[in-house]
Symmetry: C2
Subunit: 161 residues, 2 copies
């Protein structure tokens, strides 16, 4: 620790965090896939949004956040409307290599700078990225309840393969 300043100390490296996120994304994909097609945009509990709507939120936050942070171009118009499950999964899969490619463009120093996401959410870049991941975990946890309420066993939380 001698000579290691707080600023240079690392809890986790960018590469490892990307792997962590893509592991979460593989699990979220399995949760989307577990929904019956006719329930994805129709079923919810307690008057909340459907898991289809939540999934479209996640899709319009992940790659668009990274794109904004790396290029300065922020998407602010999205279509989160109902669509067949296969189309949601296609959009999900389309984002996977986009996230990998955008991540590679991000210099490590960038994660410690500040930015204003989507023109309205200021924060340190690492916090903005974590917000996207945390929001995915949060809504996916809600999807687990919806699946249980439908009598469907969700995929195991610990499996990120």
């Amino acid at each position: 620790m001698v000579g290691m300043s707080t600023a240079s100390a690392s809890f986790i490296a960018p590469d490892a965090l990307l792997s962590h996120w893509q592991g979460h994304r593989r699990l979220t994909r399995r949760v989307i896939a577990a929904f019956p097609d006719d329930k994805l945009f129709t079923f919810s509990v307690g008057g909340m949004r459907t898991f289809g709507e939540l999934s479209m939120e996640l899709i319009t936050m992940g790659a668009p956040m990274l794109r904004g942070l790396t290029t300065g171009q922020w998407d602010n118009v999205w279509d989160r409307s109902a669509r067949p499950k296969q189309e949601v999964l296609r959009l999900w899969d389309e984002a996977t290599p986009q996230i990998d490619a955008l991540w590679k463009k991000m210099p490590a120093e960038r994660f410690h700078e500040t930015a204003t996401a989507f023109g309205q959410y200021p924060g340190t870049v690492h916090d903005l990225v974590l917000y996207v991941i945390d929001n995915e975990i949060h809504h996916r946890g809600q999807g687990y309840v919806y699946l249980r309420a439908l009598g469907i066993e969700p995929p195991p939380f610990y499996d990120r393969s």
Copy 2:
């Protein structure tokens, strides 16, 4: 970036990750507090565990994980039984300074080493810590559904103050 190896690159520093986690913990505390006392260990959706049981899981994972990672002493016997909400909140608050103190004992290199949590879960230390945080977000998201199903508005997800 010249001369910066992948191993030394940092997505987030240990201090910032601790702040991030304690922010999540403040939100989770508000979710526990939002439950009526007589629902915390009795109400659930879809045959899942109650939010009281989930909260006790979080309490017996957070500080105990850090204690094990820093001292090598792993707690493996826990009492997660039903108790009054005020007692759950007391245990929650008791863990807050424990987590801060244990975190300060962790050398930054430690996060990149491997360990076997609770004698059975192997992983890189940063992944073991993230698992605890992610598990908290996951179950708290389920608590949001329970609250909505009870007709109670949950605290805002983005507020970590």
